[in-house]
Symmetry: C2
Subunit: 133 residues, 2 copies
């Protein structure tokens, strides 16, 4: 079980957008160079972030991506959920009669992690952030 690299890229891209000038949209080409990943691949993740309402896209020349919300309102969990989906980490595959006690425990544990990620905003790192490379 691992987070996908796509999540890794998305988190870094968002960190860049949070630290970048908020008025000017950043084209995917620039982001892709910074992260060392292909444009076409990165654009998949950015599209997901757009659909999740975290960023906004501007087509055409001088276009690109910029934040849609206040940067203080964007949590790690928002980004992770946008890429990985919101399904639970654990789903019992046995057909018990009742609710699965084991599943309840693991989901409870997952919620501890989510709670931390929900409270942690990507902008908190912007101060310490010295550039991607």
């Amino acid at each position: 079980m691992k987070y996908s690299q796509a999540t890794d890229y998305a988190l870094h891209a968002m960190l860049y957008l949070v630290t970048a000038a908020p008025d000017k949209p950043v084209p995917v080409q620039l982001l892709a160079e910074k992260l060392g990943v292909s444009q076409t691949y990165l654009s998949k993740m950015l599209t997901k972030l757009v659909k999740a309402g975290l960023i906004q896209s501007v087509s055409g020349a001088n276009g690109g991506y910029r934040l849609r919300r206040n940067k203080e309102d964007i949590s790690f969990l928002d980004i992770i959920h946008a890429i990985e989906g919101t399904a639970s980490l654990f789903e019992c595959s046995l057909n018990h009669g009742s609710e699965c006690l084991i599943q309840q425990v693991v989901i409870e544990a997952e919620q501890k992690m989510e709670q931390y990620l929900r409270n942690k905003k990507i902008s908190e790192l912007a101060g310490q952030f010295k550039g991607i490379g």
Copy 2:
């Protein structure tokens, strides 16, 4: 990102072993019937649990599996780690100069989850456990 079904089976198998009579080893055939999974597949997971030191195997007639430790000393995390491995959920694939701040946050979150799973013992469910099916 999801826990594997193997982890699901292993947790249920351990719950059964914890509630079963501790003196008599339980053969994989019996466990497999209870869980509704094939013997050969389940035995893979049980072998991992043996290697992790959670249970003990007894070959030959009247053999099977029994707990190796005190049942109060077996946590959810022990079982999950035995099956899934102990690698971190997140590994930054960019080559930064320094440590990755993003990775630090996600690993911190993971540790919240692990802390909960480490404190939760499988035997805590034994009381409420009404059988697998």
